[in-house]
Symmetry: C2
């Protein structure tokens, strides 16, 4: 692969379960993200940027493969239209057949590191270093806990191939006060990695996947109690401050103009954790777990001084999957041609302001719930083919936001006569277009062929998130002997995962 730049830019990105509306620049009333707001002022804001799934693991799998979860296998068929992820009882993970971004970037000489949550499977064959990353500091699963080492062990923290401790043990999170030093540790890992690669003159890819804004939310002592928004806000402030410090370092090292940085999130803010531990999806409906806009629309900022023009807003319909294709393009590489790739190269949008037509598909598990037609221009409809259940097994995903006739408690099939929303006039999806209106028929005429074409050409991957087994939990991760922390797994009893999502 040829490199268009003498020195290819080094991509960095963050990923953290923050909501679209948590950015000051996206209207959060307390305006507590001065660094991210400055990043947007120095770069390009994408208000129409989407996750590939309203849940963490599938969204991250899509980001790193450039493919919808329905293709890369990050879904379940255990129940209809259910989101699955990778708790520690998951047996599956990212298949070897998938090509991840860091694997491909190796061809252009990139050194890759993931800092933070991996979430693509925790069994040894799924670890980041088996899938192209050169370094890892972070955890394979979410920082739920603390656990008791009998029903389930605490989640390990890895440095590269080995566990170096566990959450709530060597890496404490105080559930009462919300204090944890993790974001500072993750920040230091990022800064050190960047300094080292700059000193060695190596192009690098840093995937900075912090999770302080995921319940249980946490912040380090200097940030606790500093937000007008409570503990969630403290976590946001610390992430914002960290982004500022990373961007500053790039300036200090004089690699601002050769480093491409993208900030986004993996799904909408979790309203089930609101208001104490949940963020804001701005004007959008519902949040994480749903395929309403609040679950799928993400904060998104591109920053590359001297290349991406400053203080721009792009209406390009974007997706986390685009970061795969765009990063390859930055490195002078092409995406694999032997498989369907959903990611789009955003460089035309960023460098020439050229918009590319592309649809957005909203999936829960393997079920297409909604679609947004390619044109980002006027009209801006989206059609809900199947209605995301606003609540399931007692979980209300839209607390305080249920819209009569729109959010439903049971899933409803609308494929033949989808509910269509005009996202320009009605970003909050509160007023479905009238079935008998010309506008409805026009929108349907734009959406239906796109959906049919997508579905006709679709080859689903093997579902990876169907089987769970308490025996595969993090009882004895590599390195546990050195720490004297190996636990004995229970007998293996594989069973269908149950997903209350």
């Amino acid at each position: 692969a040829g490199a268009p730049n003498p020195k290819p830019p080094e991509p960095i990105r963050g990923l953290l379960g923050m909501g679209w509306g948590d950015l000051g620049v996206n209207g959060e009333p307390s305006r507590e993200t001065p660094n991210l707001d400055r990043m947007a002022a120095e770069g390009m804001l994408f208000p129409n940027f989407y996750s590939a799934n309203p849940l963490c693991s599938p969204s991250r799998a899509a980001l790193l493969t450039g493919r919808l979860p329905i293709r890369n296998g990050f879904y379940t068929t255990n129940a209809h239209a259910r989101n699955g992820y990778t708790p520690q009882e998951i047996v599956g993970g990212i298949p070897d057949s998938e090509l991840l971004l860091p694997e491909l970037l190796k061809e252009a000489g990139y050194v890759s590191k993931i800092v933070g949550k991996w979430h693509l499977g925790h069994r040894p064959q799924f670890h980041p270093l088996k899938h192209g990353f050169d370094e890892w500091f972070g955890s394979p699963n979410c920082h739920f806990g603390p656990y008791n080492n009998r029903a389930r062990p605490n989640i390990p923290v890895y440095r590269d191939r080995e566990m170096v401790g566990r959450f709530y043990e060597e890496f404490p999170i105080n559930l009462k006060t919300g204090e944890a030093n993790l974001t500072q540790i993750y920040l230091q890992e990022a800064l050190d990695f960047i300094k080292t690669q700059q000193a060695r003159g190596r192009p690098f890819f840093l995937y900075w996947a912090v999770d302080a804004t995921h319940a249980p939310v946490y912040a380090s002592k200097p940030f606790l109690g500093t937000s007008r928004r409570g503990r969630y806000g403290d976590a946001v402030r610390e992430v914002d401050d960290s982004v500022g410090r990373i961007l500053s370092l790039l300036g200090d090292l004089r690699i601002r103009e050769s480093t491409f940085v993208f900030f986004t999130s993996d799904n909408g803010a979790a309203l089930v954790s609101a208001p104490r531990q949940g963020g804001s999806n701005g004007p959008f409906l519902c949040g994480k777990q749903t395929t309403f806009e609040g679950g799928m629309r993400e904060p998104a900022i591109a920053w590359w001084p001297g290349h991406v023009p400053a203080a721009q807003v792009s209406y390009q319909l974007g997706s986390v999957m685009d970061l795969f294709t765009t990063s390859l393009s930055l490195a002078g590489l092409k995406p694999p041609s032997d498989r369907a790739i959903d990611g789009l190269d955003l460089l035309p949008a960023m460098l020439q302001g050229r918009l590319t037509d592309r649809p957005i598909f909203y999936y829960r598990g393997n079920t297409l719930m909604a679609g947004r037609p390619p044109r980002a221009g006027s009209g801006v409809p989206r059609a809900s083919l199947t209605f995301p259940p606003a609540s399931l097994q007692g979980v209300d995903f839209c607390p305080g936001q249920n819209v009569s006739g729109v959010t439903t408690h049971t899933q409803e099939e609308h494929t033949e006569l989808p509910l269509i929303f005009h996202l320009g006039r009605d970003p909050g999806e509160r007023y479905p277009l009238r079935f008998d209106s010309t506008e409805y028929l026009d929108a349907l005429g734009r959406i239906s062929p796109v959906v049919r074409q997508h579905q006709a050409a679709l080859v689903p991957g093997q579902p990876q998130l169907n089987v769970c087994d308490r025996a595969v939990m993090n009882w004895a991760p590599p390195g546990c002997e050195k720490l004297g922390k190996c636990l004995t797994p229970p007998e293996s009893v594989p069973e269908k995962c149950s997903w209350p999502h």
Copy 2:
């Protein structure tokens, strides 16, 4: 009164029923207000800025008097906690005993003009030129219509003391296409006034009260169909463009640094007009007519290059009434000392970044519905003492936003045990604090004395909006003879106004 500046700054402000969330800089996803966003980038944004009432007339009366409507008489006692305004059957208007901003600015030699909607009474004694304005181009009432000249006449458009035509007649508004040239006419009036005063070397006060975003929303041909948000967006784009042209002119005339400009709105976006003719209140609950944040929180930008520092966000709790006091302060004048003034001088916040403690009171008519305690700092509670009815006589003021247990169809009295919200964590007022929490008791302890003190000291003005009479409608405004457009009023039958609000 002494003038602190050799040449006092010339205040300008706009007022137009736009929602907090309609500004790009406040997160509107289509980002269609580049001029207002630039104004914010060159000035100071106030995300915590409030109307004095969630309806047009009382809000404007408060702006021009610096006093709550309960004091200046812009309320009704015909029904409990009802908002009243000035339709053309209203008998009352702004009392002579009230001192309006332009009356006071005369002492400092200011020439004042109102362009657009007056809304403080249309009978001759209430006209703007009787209350301190030197010039007027615009209408006394809202541009509802068209009417048939038998049940009610169309609303007149005045130049100074005389009618020069009527809406839907000499000043057409096409209800089908939404085309109207009014914003362009209002813009030209503003530009001409500014040029003239600058040429004459006179300090001026321009109150630019456009109403294109009030249903029936309208825009001129070049703007129609240009927004991604529909016709309401077209209107917003034209207003935004006009603001840009006004600010440009100040630059061309080299009076940027001697002209203070403030942009705000009179109430939240009207959700009853959504989604086709209604705007966005961002993350806030409900809209116009309610005392939830969506009805009361306003977009607000201060601009004064060389004085108000650029690109700042102020957490000052602000109110439209502050524009009264601040404008006097800019002109080196003091507010009247013979009456209670609710407006605060914002200059310390704008020039020195100094925040002043002050409460916010949320009224419907003469009923105090909610209060926000003085401190703008941490915690940020607000207490709802009485619940605003989300619907009344069949009007739903919160369509698609009703929150179970919070928005109610009947008014509910909660004064003894108010519902308290943490506006930092929960700007959307969806999660009342638990009555048994320490946080609730702390907040109650901060709010209750403020409310008690306010109510104990309150002297309500004489209600001006109680009596209606079809005979007082705009049948024969001054100047109608010249136009041959005088109509014969019906017999006078004064009656209690009925307010479906």
